[in-house]
């Protein structure tokens, strides 16, 4: 049974699971100090130079699992002692250079940065090189490589630099909390703060939903997760853990598709507002274009608001693939409606902290949204839903969508719009390539995930957006 893509995720999970176990048993914060030794017992190191460094790093991971540095609002943080100070020299010529005669690298370099020694082996003059990568592209021996840190490679908003101690550092003014670096760092040195303790506390104090009810709102990308069990078993597990009931965030997506299409038809141009990392990106890099971002709350917040408006004193917990959602709930416009956000990774740790074997559970049902609300989880789904909502409401609007996944694609679309060199009248902006199914908080990121989401969409009881939202009026 493979629950995670990488061993870094597995390590993070073990910490989360142990923190959760201690929390259920009400032994925190006293027992927190013992957790590193529980995870790395004995004297033989398995990950780092010695068990003491391993435990020191684990102590930092425990802090992050317990909410991290509260004085820093960024939910993404570097564990500096875990950073392995990867090489970051940029383009370099390796031993594979055969000292050929063609010198394509020299010809293609517009800066004249390439020279040759007496063996015809190429060298790059770092003072002239602008890291364009052309030489690496043309070398027939792939002898030129780009030594870049995986975190910096992953960060498309260029928020990661190297500090004076040679460790990675995040510029919180630029970071959009997408979590790309969290998933990509091979040493697990960048991680997202966890709010599982808030969730455990909420569930305990509800006294089995008698003091107040706690609602789980799950993202549609759940359909591609927990693949070792049935979705219905995950729903049962959530209820056994103490949630009153489980509601699809996709129903919020149906609501958003309905109102966003109306807003689009009125204004003539919009970008989506579902992805919090995209919205943050626009705010930090294209502030003049913020008025073009849809004024709709995200699907998570829309459905949470609906629930909260109908029931006093209830609590809502969003469970999804996304680290940026943890940042979204800090916004004043969202805070009143969503009490905590956790990821699928963290949910797995919560299940296992209670030693639940969810594959043995009976199957419950999860069915609130339409096909269109559910496919929001993958790139292009939001656009399909807006197009459908335009049709269903007979709006007089000729949709010309530009579907962007990944920050680089979003950037190009926004630049084109700013210069008025685009036909598109709707930009679907998703920070993660492939959409939410590739979020940093997913347990697994696989090729089949898109197909899983579409399949789950087709299984929806409601076939149209208006039918799905009609019960809400």
């Amino acid at each position: 049974m493979r629950k995670f893509d990488t061993k870094v995720q597995y390590l993070k999970y073990k910490v989360l699971r142990e923190v959760a176990r201690q929390a259920w048993a009400e032994r925190l914060p006293v027992s927190a100090i013992d957790i590193p030794k529980t995870i790395v017992p004995g004297k033989t190191p398995t990950m780092r130079c010695c068990v003491y460094k391993e435990r020191a790093i684990l102590a930092e991971r425990v802090k992050m699992a317990m909410g991290g540095d509260r004085s820093n609002p960024n939910v993404i943080q570097v564990i500096d002692i875990a950073c392995d100070e990867c090489p970051a020299a940029g383009y370099e010529v390796t031993d594979s250079c055969r000292g050929c005669l063609a010198h394509r690298c020299e010809d293609v370099c517009k800066r004249g940065a390439i020279s040759f020694d007496h063996n015809h082996v190429a060298h790059i003059d770092k003072s002239k090189c602008v890291e364009c990568g052309q030489c690496a592209n043309v070398c027939p021996f792939t002898a030129i490589i780009n030594r870049k840190r995986p975190c910096q490679n992953a960060c498309k908003v260029k928020a990661i630099s190297i500090n004076e101690d040679n460790a990675a550092a995040i510029d919180d003014q630029k970071c959009i909390s997408c979590g790309a670096c969290v998933y990509q760092c091979p040493f697990g040195a960048i991680t997202d703060k966890s709010f599982i303790l808030n969730v455990i506390d909420m569930l305990k104090k509800s006294e089995s939903n008698t003091k107040y009810k706690t609602y789980a709102i799950v993202a549609p990308s759940i359909s591609s997760q927990f693949s070792y069990a049935k979705l219905g078993q995950v729903i049962t597990a959530l209820k056994k853990m103490g949630f009153h009931t489980v509601v699809e965030a996709a129903l919020g997506a149906d609501m958003v598709a309905k109102s966003e299409s109306v807003e689009l038809a009125e204004k003539g141009f919009l970008t989506s507002s579902c992805c919090p990392a995209f919205v943050d990106y626009v705010g930090k890099n294209f502030p003049d274009m913020l008025p073009l971002v849809s004024h709709n709350l995200s699907p998570m917040t829309t459905i949470a608001k609906y629930i909260k408006q109908r029931e006093n004193d209830c609590k809502t917990v969003f469970i999804g693939p996304c680290t940026a959602k943890k940042a979204e709930v800090q916004k004043e416009s969202v805070k009143p409606f969503v009490d905590a956000v956790i990821t699928f990774e963290e949910l797995q740790a919560l299940f296992d902290s209670l030693d639940m074997d969810i594959t043995q559970f009976e199957e419950d049902v999860l069915d609130n949204a339409s096909y269109f609300g559910r496919i929001f989880a993958r790139s292009g789904g939001l656009t399909d839903a807006v197009a459908q909502a335009i049709r269903e409401q007979s709006l007089n609007f000729d949709l010309k969508p530009c579907t962007c996944d990944g920050i680089e694609a979003c950037k190009i679309a926004l630049l084109k719009k700013r210069k008025n060199v685009t036909d598109a009248n709707f930009i679907e902006g998703m920070a993660c390539i492939g959409g939410c199914i590739n979020g940093a908080g997913c347990l697994t990121h696989g090729e089949k995930n898109k197909a899983e989401v579409d399949k789950y969409g087709r299984e929806a009881y409601e076939k149209t957006i208006l039918d799905a939202v009609s019960v809400l009026q």
Binding site: N368, S470, V471, L472, Q473
Partner: protein, 79 residues
């Protein structure tokens, strides 16, 4: 009078939308909009008995087929 229909997953697939739609229609047809408030909730904890409906806290099990009789006996009769 307040009628609450469960729109949680289990009741939803047993037809809570059809129940809501019929109730909306019946309320409008009988011109009871200012007397009867119709609302929804996610899960009443009695999923086996869905579609779950409460009338001022009294519980009823309704289906799209029985909603008309339910409306006549429990709503019209009691107003």
């Amino acid at each position: 009078m307040k009628i609450t229909v469960c729109i949680g997953s289990s009741c939803h697939i047993k037809g809570s939308r059809q129940v809501v739609e019929q109730l909306q229609f019946l309320i409008a047809e009988n011109k009871l909009k200012d007397k009867v408030e119709l609302s929804g909730t996610f899960c009443m904890g009695k999923c086996q008995q869905g579609v779950c409906v409460t009338v001022d806290d009294e519980f009823f099990s309704v289906s799209p087929e029985t909603v008309k009789t339910f409306f006549e006996s429990e709503v019209l009769n009691k107003l």
